[in-house]
Amino acid sequence: MKIRSIIIDDEEGARESLGNIIKNYFPEVEVLAKGDSVKDGLELILSHQPDLVFLDIEMPGGNAFNLLTSPRFGNKISFEVIFITAFDHYAIQAIKFSALDYLLKPIDVDDLRLAIQRYQSKRNEKQEFSQKIEVLLHNLKFNKSDETRKIAVADMQGLTFINLIEIIRCESDGNYTLINIEGGKKILSSKPLSEYDEMFSGENFFRIHRSHLINLKHIKKYFRGEGGYVLMSDNSQIEVSRRKKNEFMEKVGM
């Protein structure tokens, strides 16, 4: 069964090039229609009922999120979205938080292939997708550094949604990351620690050590030493690496 898709982008060039790439490289994907605005796109989705929508974030007269929040979809969105953007860090962070997929312009064929593969491997988990969208819209509604923001973490069992503020620390475990949450709960994420470090950049998190990323709001005490170590709110003690000490001290304002 072919993947039925729609492309929504205000720039003709972008629409055409994505359409051509799909036509040339991904025979399993069928492009049903192409839209050049939010209004246009909404009509096309409702009429074609696609499986997958390639959606440009920034468009004149409204953006991708306006489209997704349209009341005409009712409570459930029956399609998956792969966001497309030229450059927008803030939106990308929000998308990352919600574990949704995105592509950067100009389109890289390999990235597109991975995104399609991911879609194929979980096409039956429609429920999860609407939750992800919910998280995305929730996070977009609030300002940066707002404490109610959430993050979607994919583990072996599926998706877990965690408030950012509840994360105490992340510990590297090879290619996995062990996330320690308030109340002693732990989640083993299938992403490496470096990805979380990047995702949380600009947040109240600090890579205190090669294998530790901590939430600065959960520090109880700092003990001096060569690098010293910190006592976290879950009473765990984490060493501060010698090279990171100065940066750390600056960050916590000491």
Binding site: G13, G61, F65, L104
Partner: protein
């Protein structure tokens, strides 16, 4: 008597100012020196004259008239012309010869610092047979003096208290022990009348007494000094009197009776009375003093040779006086020719001195023939029988002058710091003769030791603040001190600025001032650093923003996306055109971004490229025009880099693209003109206007927080701050018939 005379006469050209002397050398031992150009009182001999060393311990004259010196490098003699040295080659086994002595038989003896004794015979020195044994017995101790009696017994005294050795003519060595309480070493001295004087210092009794044995008399002399290891020197006068010097004290006595006392400023090393009756005393670090009248009174005293250390004084047969010093060779005081000894015929070639008298001194030596019985008299020394025939003198303070003003005598004075010039008069009272009293006084608090004086006053100028206690005591000529001292105490108060509370207050204030200055300075530096850091941060930020403002990343990636489109649709020509224009624009931006301002020409070129790319991207959905006023010099007039681009981008994205929906083609007009020394750039569009654009934006779910416009606003502000310039922007909403019909942005750039 040998009549042979040697006569020397030197003639030098008159312009030769060399000191030369003619001399007569007579076998009789009488010789005279007359200076052809007597330019100074003393003649000085050093190594340059032929002495082996500048360190001279003692001098003696042998029967042939030669003057002998015991030096730090052997012995040498002087015959009036040259010095002849005797050292290790001439029989001395040691070099440092500390004493030289002529015995009653005319034999010359000397001894070394290590305690070896040598005698002169057959033109060389020989050690005595018992030298090694004597060395063992004395343990290498320094010999104080030796004496040889007419029976050729050698008496040796060392510096060890109470030690005396007798090297008999039969070559036996006998040690004669003195009583153990004798603190000072035994001394023995052969006087000119060939009698021996010997004695020791007793310190058992409270007042130190010197025991002197004269022939068979035992005589005790009370000394004023308590502690001293200084040399004792002794001289017998013709009239039967004796001079004795110990430390800073000189005493003249006749058997059993003290005649006179005096104090010197430095320790006396040697004392003699010359044939004219003058008293000469060589002082340690004090040169030579001379009492010309032969009386021990401070009046008329003459000091020679500065502060040299004079080790001995000797008068030769002719009445010339020789002074040996510890570090400066020998000084020689010739007899005044005009006074006594000069007579014209002495200098005649044919004649010679008429005098052929046998020298008295030699006669005395030869006549003396007495052997002393030491053993018999030494035991008497231990008997502590005190010879005292006078009462101690009374002492009182007779007057106190402060700052040259007499005061009523009190026992205690409390003085301010500026009244610190004191003169204290005191008087001693004795039943015999008060004039002969000597005094010692001490201001406790400033004087470290007693000061001995013949004066009846003590004077202190500029005493520093403190507490002082003055004591004075008098002594009669028999050495009896007053029973008690007369005392007075002084307290000189420090000025208020030297009191502890004032000093600590000052230190505290000083510290406070320094601390606060330090603190203020630190705060200042910190503040300045803060401002500087903030400024730098802002500037770095501004630079970053400037770069950002130059090109919206959206534009870059969207452009690349458009090129990708041409490629996917195999439109090679379009892709090439697009790519080359994009490359041109990027190059322009990079060139411009290295400069703060660029000529208008460059800026407009970049805008052309930008607008071209944007219109290509949006499929010619809008038209644009750029017009430049005639008075604008595009090559010379400069504006900040990429200042206009964000406004143009804003017009396209928010004004024109939204407008596009309504089916009317958008128009963008860029106009540059110069007015009143100001570049005015206006960007006019026929878009939907700001209000409507805002509405649309508000409806959007916020997807990015920043916009080129806000960055540009900040940039303008920073540019104005950095360059103290006055860049400004004016935005007008254009209306036609009450409906919005576009936006006009005007940027005013002062040149």
């Amino acid at each position: 008597m040998m009549a042979g005379k040697k006569f020397f006469l030197f003639f030098f050209p008159g312009n030769f100012r060399i000191k030369i002397f003619t001399l007569f050398f007579l076998f009789s031992g009488t010789w005279k020196i007359v200076f052809s150009q007597p330019s100074s009182l003393f003649e000085h001999f050093t190594e340059n004259s032929g002495l082996p060393s500048r360190k001279i311990f003692e001098a003696a004259q042998s029967l042939d008239g030669k003057i002998w010196f015991a030096t730090g490098k052997g012995v040498c003699n002087f015959d009036g012309i040259v010095f002849k040295c005797f050292n290790l080659e001439e029989g001395l086994t040691e070099s440092e010869i500390t004493g030289i002595h002529l015995d009653g038989n005319g034999k010359l003896w000397c001894w070394s610092s290590a305690g070896r004794i040598f005698y002169f015979e057959n033109n060389k020195f020989s050690g005595i047979k018992k030298n090694n044994e004597l060395g063992d017995k004395t343990g290498g101790r320094i010999i104080n003096s030796i004496s040889v009696d007419t029976n050729k017994n050698i008496w040796v005294s060392t510096v060890i208290p109470g030690e005396l050795f007798l090297v008999s003519a039969e070559n036996t060595i006998e040690e004669i022990k003195m009583a153990s309480d004798n603190k000072f070493s035994f001394f023995i001295k052969q006087t000119t009348d060939n009698s021996f004087v010997y004695g020791s210092l007793l310190c058992k009794s409270e007042n130190n007494k010197l025991v002197v044995l004269l022939k068979n008399d035992t005589f005790y002399i009370t000394l004023s000094e308590k502690e001293s290891f200084s040399k004792i020197s002794f001289f017998a006068l013709k009239n039967g009197e004796y001079l004795l010097a110990k430390g800073q004290e000189i005493i003249r006595f006749k058997s059993g009776k003290i005649i006179q006392r005096s104090f010197t400023e430095k320790n006396v090393e040697d004392i003699i009375v010359d044939t004219e009756g003058k008293i000469w005393a060589g002082l340690y670090l004090g040169g030579v003093i001379c009492y010309p009248e032969g009386k021990l009174s401070p009046a008329g005293i003459i000091n020679y040779l500065g502060n040299k250390s004079v080790s001995s004084v000797m008068e030769d047969n002719s009445g010339n006086i020789w002074f040996t010093t510890m570090e400066d060779g020998v000084f020689f005081l010739p007899v005044r020719s005009n006074l006594k000894y000069s007579s014209p015929e002495i200098y005649s070639q044919k004649g010679g001195p008429k005098t052929d008298e046998k020298p008295k001194a030699i006669a005395r030596f030869i006549d003396g023939n007495e052997k002393l019985n030491f053993n018999g008299t030494l035991r008497l020394i231990s008997n502590d029988t005190t010879f005292q025939d006078t009462l101690p003198p009374a002492i009182f303070i007779s007057g106190i002058r402060i700052m040259e003003k007499d005061t009523i005598i009190q026992t205690q004075y409390d003085l301010p710091f500026d009244k610190n010039f004191l003169r204290i008069n005191f008087a001693g009272f004795s039943f015999s003769n008060s004039d002969e009293l000597k005094y010692k006084y001490r201001m406790e608090g400033i004087d470290k030791a007693w000061i001995y004086s013949d004066n009846t006053f003590a004077q202190y100028t500029t005493l520093p603040p403190g507490k002082y206690f003055f004591r004075v005591s008098a002594m009669n000529k028999n050495g009896i001190w007053s029973d008690s001292t007369a005392t007075v105490s002084f307290a000189i108060n420090p000025p208020f600025w030297k009191t502890w509370w004032f000093i600590s207050l000052m230190i505290f204030c000083g510290a406070a001032i320094i601390f606060s200055a330090f603190f203020i300075r630190i705060t200042q530096i910190k503040d300045r650093e803060k401002i500087k850091a903030e400024f730098n941060r802002q500037r770095a930020n501004a630079e970053l923003l400037a770069l950002r403002a130059q090109m919206n990343p959206h534009f870059i990636f969207n452009t690349l996306s458009s090129i990708q489109h041409f490629i996917t649709t195999n439109e090679t020509e379009g892709a090439l055109k697009y790519l080359s224009k994009f490359a041109k624009l990027m190059r322009k931006i990079m060139d411009n971004s290295t400069r703060a301002t660029v000529p208008l020409k460059d800026e407009i070129e970049a805008l052309h490229l930008y607008l071209e790319l944007e219109s290509l991207r949006f499929k010619n959905k809008f038209e644009y025009s750029i017009t430049i006023g005639k008075n604008v010099d595009v090559n010379e007039d400069e504006i900040p880099t990429m200042l206009l681009q964000p406004y143009i981008e804003n017009s396209i994205l928010h004004g024109l693209l939204n407008k596009n929906k309504e089916g009317v083609k958008g128009k963008l007009a860029v106009d540059v003109k110069k007015n009143n020394g100001m570049i005015i750039c206006s960007i006019e569009d026929n878009g939907i206007g700001r209000e409507k654009s805002m509405e649309i934006n508000l409806a959007k779910i916020k997807s990015h927080s920043s916009s080129g416009m806000s960055i540009t606003k900040n940039r303008l502000k920073i540019l104005n701050e950095l360059h103290q310039s006055n860049l400004s922007v004016e935005i007008t909403d254009l209306k036609t018939g009450g409906f919005p019909s576009g936006t006009k942005v005007e940027i005013f750039i002062p040149l």
